[in-house]
Symmetry: C2
Subunit: 80 residues, 2 copies
Amino acid sequence: MKANIFVTLKREVLDPQGDAVRRSLGTLGFKEVKSARVGKLIELELDGNDKASADAHIQSMCEKLLANPVIEDFRYEIVD
Amino acid sequence: MKANIFVTLKREVLDPQGDAVRRSLGTLGFKEVKSARVGKLIELELDGNDKASADAHIQSMCEKLLANPVIEDFRYEIVD
């Protein structure tokens, strides 16, 4: 089973890396970019086929290690 | 219009950050994690409503700035 976990900064947290990306894209001529935010994508390969159990475990992994709940949000999808 | 861009290391490129995540998850008791890879998620807000044009521009942004084609792959989705 595979899971994709998306960890993003909360809306109210400043993202200087995202701002740098937006400015650089503007410099390259992509003036249509209004904002850019940079987050993490964590791809996991998991043993087992029990989606409900995987779901609970991934939630727990995010809360314990993968995301910092003070400044980050997370979401995830389980694929095949 | 919003776009999510996913930048990941190519399969053949070593990912020490991903290995550290896998080991840490194992230490926390999540023994079912066989592998972990860490990539980037870049969320863009774009002016305009032309999906075909946005598609071409995002492809170009990835090739020119957002991904390093030597070691990284990218994919993206345009949402609303």
